[in-house]
């Protein structure tokens, strides 16, 4: 099934608010095997100039993947998830994501193009606090492998 090119430029509604918690950050840091105190110890994070513990640089994927997963599940897009692999990931940070942040993810499909037998789909996801502060933008390229 072909991917619907008409989705390029589509901006999806923001996700429901996601509350970044100290417990989730600590769980994520443990899962990546990173003992950094900035992810667990509030005093250490504050000594480094943060309001509370901060999240590791790749933590925003937890929030953006949920947002883009919902957007890309639109049956009219025609993406075959069984054939999808992660091609590229980029983050641009205004500041570290911090425990206590309440953020929404807003996904835009920025590009769909052929690469040989594969199709590459790129999304850009803005993470903003519910007060409208842009914290992080994540650009993700996924590759649907050709059969």
């Amino acid at each position: 099934m072909a991917i619907n090119r008409a989705f390029v430029g589509r901006v999806f509604p923001p996700s429901d608010p996601y509350e970044v918690s100290r417990v989730k950050i600590a769980e994520f840091a443990a899962a990546i095997g990173d003992p950094n105190p900035l992810y667990r110890d509030r005093a250490a994070a504050q000594a480094a100039g943060h309001a509370d513990v901060i999240a590791p640089p790749t933590f925003p994927i937890v929030i953006t993947m949920a947002g883009s997963g919902a957007a890309l599940a639109d049956p009219d897009l025609g993406l075959n998830y069984a054939m999808v692999v992660h091609g590229e990931q980029r983050f641009s940070y205004a500041r570290p994501l911090t425990a206590g942040d309440v953020v929404t993810a807003q996904v835009t499909i920025t590009d769909i193009r052929d690469a040989g037998r594969n199709v590459m789909l790129t999304t850009s996801t803005d993470l903003r606090t519910v007060d409208g502060e842009l914290v992080c933008t994540a650009a993700s390229t996924i590759v649907e492998r050709g059969a």
Binding site: M65, E88, Y93, R95
Partner: protein, 142 residues
């Protein structure tokens, strides 16, 4: 966690020595739970092999997280990451044994930028394959 480095002390072209990070099946199970990415190719050998993979493979984002740890450990607690990007060029294959696999990350100071920022070019390898390309982080240093 490492000592703090300063912008002034960083030299362009300086090499950041390789660090090896282990990855086992348990790492992947934990990463599935923490990230919410339960794609079966990261924990089910039978299905991974049935879709043409050599074995269970690590999440690309797990590998990227190791590269992130390499950067933040080098840069120190008062550094802040402002940009981080990678391309996933090869799989990290994780066998069902006690040793698992390893990801070797190294880096080089690529450029000193305005605003006390430094860009780091990263290399990540596993089982002799280059698993990340175009991998780069920018950190703001004190």
């Amino acid at each position: 966690m490492s000592d703090q480095i300063s912008y002034d002390s960083v030299e362009m072209g300086a090499a950041i020595p390789v660090v090896s990070y282990p990855v086992t099946r348990l790492s992947l199970v934990k990463y599935c739970g923490a990230s919410g990415d339960f794609n079966v190719i990261h924990w089910n050998e039978r299905i991974a092999k049935s879709v043409g993979l050599p074995d269970v493979i690590a999440h690309g984002m797990f590998t990227m997280a190791q590269a992130g740890r390499f950067v933040t450990d080098w840069a120190g607690p008062r550094a802040v990451v402002t940009e981080f990007g990678v391309r996933f060029s090869s799989m990290v294959v994780v066998p069902d044994n006690d040793a698992g696999a390893s990801i070797e990350v190294s880096g080089q100071v690529e450029e000193k930028l305005a605003g006390n920022q430094v860009s780091i070019a990263l290399t990540a390898r596993s089982a002799d394959a280059k698993v990340l390309t175009r991998a780069r982080a920018v950190v703001r240093l004190p």
